[in-house]
Symmetry: C2
Subunit: 212 residues, 2 copies
DNA sequence: CAACGATGTTGACGCCGTCAACTTGTCGCG
DNA sequence: CGCGACAAGTTGACGGCGTCAACATCGTTG
């Protein structure tokens, strides 16, 4: 009813009925989360945005929550890539750590929808093994960066794991507080850009961790 | 139909029909959030728990979100009190800061439902001035504690406001990550109690901030 | 070319938040 | 003492939601 039968509009690979509904739904969901928040996201609205019936999503995701979990896994992958590439351009250990912190904060701001889904509590509550694994990988990347610094003789206190915990916590907390606007009325963060907040946080952490 | 007309069961103040429905609804909501999460909380279920009709809550809260906001304000008050009383029992500045950090983490664990509501994103999205003010007060308490330490000549780097930002971020991030179970698979946090995680975080922070 | 499985649709169910209209109980004022 | 106003609670309705079951369609594969 929609297309000429012998010539699909998107010529390439798989195009059963829709093209790639799974991808379209994930994209639509991301947009809806960006505008309406995680709670405001609706399966039916995502289906509408993809021009399919309200039950079509169930051919690709067992439930609304599972769609969000897929988004979260995807977001973790993007975050990991962002952190890796932020670090890649420098050989100086201290600078790598600073860039790592800034990249974390900037990812949270630039991909707020993904970030919110990744750490939304109802997703956390039904977390699958795959999502846990993705989160672990991110934490291990923090650890591996700190391990490099330690092996270079730059660390002075705490184990690598402890410092990774503190570092991740501080960056994550700052990102959350900024994202939720909790810091808007405070003197420090009022006029500062997220990038500068990240710098303050990471520099302060490094002062405590690195040798002097 | 329920009570003797001249002797209300709760003798003191106001007791129109129910006693104190507003309070009952807040309590019921807190319990529901604890068991079903913020998203799983339902106005109708809270009403059922309070033995009133599904529309009775609207005589006390303009919407579901506003009930949650009231819970969040209440929680901020409790958090502030917890932080204040944790600090009160010591005169040593360093110890006060350690206790402050531990109290933050322990509040998040012991009152997880309140804490989740306080920082749930849909509440943040519709935050009222009153909630903002309550959050500001908490931040200012962090600042005032650090200010005391600085005036005692204990600080060595960063402004009070910067250090308050970093400290709150780290504690908040750690609390969030623990609460969501993100750290469960990591080596540091696997077997540790929240209290010990808080210690690791706060000690590491103090190493960077305090004079040596 | 026929059958099969993956993909998408229709319709229904119960629950939800919210609005409007109604009832009931309480208190202040003449 | 009575009455009227107003706060508190109820009933019923509406549309939207997530999800289930049954049905329709289409590409692929034997």
């Amino acid at each position: 009813m929609k297309k000429a039968p012998t010539a699909p509009t998107t010529p390439v690979k798989i195009a059963y009925h829709h093209g790639d509904l799974r991808r379209s739904l994930l994209d639509a969901a991301l947009g809806l989360v960006a505008t309406h928040g995680v709670q405001g996201f609706t399966l039916r609205e995502a289906a509408r945005a993809a021009n399919v019936s309200h039950n079509a999503p169930y051919r690709h995701f067992p439930s609304r929550t599972h769609l969000l979990i897929e988004l979260a896994i995807e977001g973790q992958g993007h975050l990991l890539k962002a952190l890796q590439s932020a670090v890649a351009r420098s050989a100086d250990h201290r600078e790598r750590l600073v860039r790592l912190g800034i990249a974390y904060m900037e990812f949270a701001m630039a991909h707020a929808a993904h970030f919110r889904v990744m750490f939304s509590s109802d997703v956390a509550r039904n977390r699958t093994g795959e999502l846990k694994a993705a989160q672990d990988t991110t934490f291990r990347f923090f650890e591996s960066e700190l391990l490099s610094s330690e092996q270079a003789g730059l660390m002075h206190g705490g184990t690598v794991q402890q410092n990774a915990l503190v570092g991740w916590s501080a960056l994550h907390g700052a990102a959350m507080l900024v994202l939720d606007g909790v810091l808007d009325n405070t003197a420090v963060a009022a006029r500062r850009k997220p990038r500068e907040i990240a710098k303050v946080v990471i520099e302060s952490l490094l002062t405590g961790i690195l040798v002097r």
